[in-house]
Symmetry: C2
Subunit: 220 residues, 2 copies
């Protein structure tokens, strides 16, 4: 059995944060397909009881230390504390990383995720007013991230930390899944995505997680 | 000069988390009015430069240790680590508290806040489809919180922690500001709000923070 298992699915930028972290730190891990959009037992009350009461991916299972953790921000914190990798150095940097992780979860990928879900995967498409609302909120938050990345190569200074891994969330998915190009609209984010992509162990969400949703998988 | 200052305003449940924490731990603190809805200099680029690049309240200034922190989750973590109060006991509980804090920021108060803003304070009222979207997301997340609070008196077990203080966010504001009654729709949340209210030092957002927005302030 591998050291870690990650409940995840290819469409989830939230789950991607966990998958990317595990790959970047060179962990011995295996994805477990969480069929969020399907009719599989994962969405039943029993799944909520036994795996995650919040009903969300990702969920990390640490088979060695017998732990089960959900919320990507928790998983990132746990793995960086455990391994020392991508860990912000010192208390101030740790708080600064947490600041960006919460901002990301609430306002960046927190709005991009529902937008992309409603655009691509929902049983009925999102109402145009809802789509405009979510896009507006996400773009405003992305502008704040862009401004930060004009000043420092990574969110918390010169080195990549878990805050950067969190922020990648939905940002490597193809532009046509959004209808706008995040990297072009926010050039400093585009450059930073390139720096993150160059890290040893980096992988695309469609390569790291099972369940590519659009037929045969393109080269990414 | 007081030990702490908190940039806040009465309408902000996000800022309330910081104000409530400071009051519950018996801190020497003063609110600084952040005129978020006004035309005051706080919303200018200069304010973003000098106080908070994210343009949000709350911001905590620690005058003794010379620190300036934003994001309520960061402020709560900082103050509980510093004082030992409302601090989750042990690493597992700390991660569990972080799990609820991120869930709250993204899905509970993260959707309630914009809903209440669009209903009460926005220059033009929110589109009905947007209001329905935000309410639906918030109610689904509140149901998950309610289920947890049917099982334990506080979010992380038997004692209140920073996760509970975070979760109170917008939940003490009057039901007519939402058009639905959260405590009645989710009875375990209602009971928990009563337990939180009984803590020494508890205060209502309209009492702890300046700038009551609806004319003369009612008894709360």
């Amino acid at each position: 059995m591998s050291e870690y298992q990650l409940y995840c699915f290819a469409q989830s930028g939230n789950a991607y944060r966990g998958a990317l972290m595990l790959n970047l730190i060179g962990a011995d891990w295996k994805p477990v397909w969480y069929d969020f959009f399907g009719t599989a037992p994962q969405r039943t009350p029993e799944f909520r009881e036994s795996v995650n009461e919040m009903g969300e991916a990702p969920v990390l299972v640490d088979n060695v230390r017998n732990k089960k953790l959900s919320q990507s921000g928790v998983i990132l914190t746990y793995l960086s504390d455990l391994t020392g990798q991508y860990k912000p150095e010192g208390e101030d940097a740790k708080l600064e990383a947490l600041r960006w992780i919460i901002f990301d979860n609430q306002k960046v990928n927190g709005f991009l995720g529902p937008f992309r879900f409603l655009k691509n995967f929902a049983p009925t498409p999102g109402d145009p007013a809802v789509m405009e609302f979510l896009k507006g909120r996400a773009q405003a938050a992305l502008a704040i991230v862009n401004k930060r990345l004009e000043q420092t190569p990574f969110l918390v200074g010169d080195k990549p930390t878990i805050a950067d891994i969190s922020m990648t969330g939905y940002l490597y998915y193809p532009a046509d899944e959004f209808g706008f190009d995040i990297a072009k609209d926010h050039p400093a984010i585009g450059a930073w995505l390139g720096r993150m992509k160059a890290l040893p162990g980096w992988g695309h969400p469609y390569d790291l997680m099972p369940g590519y949703p659009f037929g045969s998988k393109p080269a990414v």
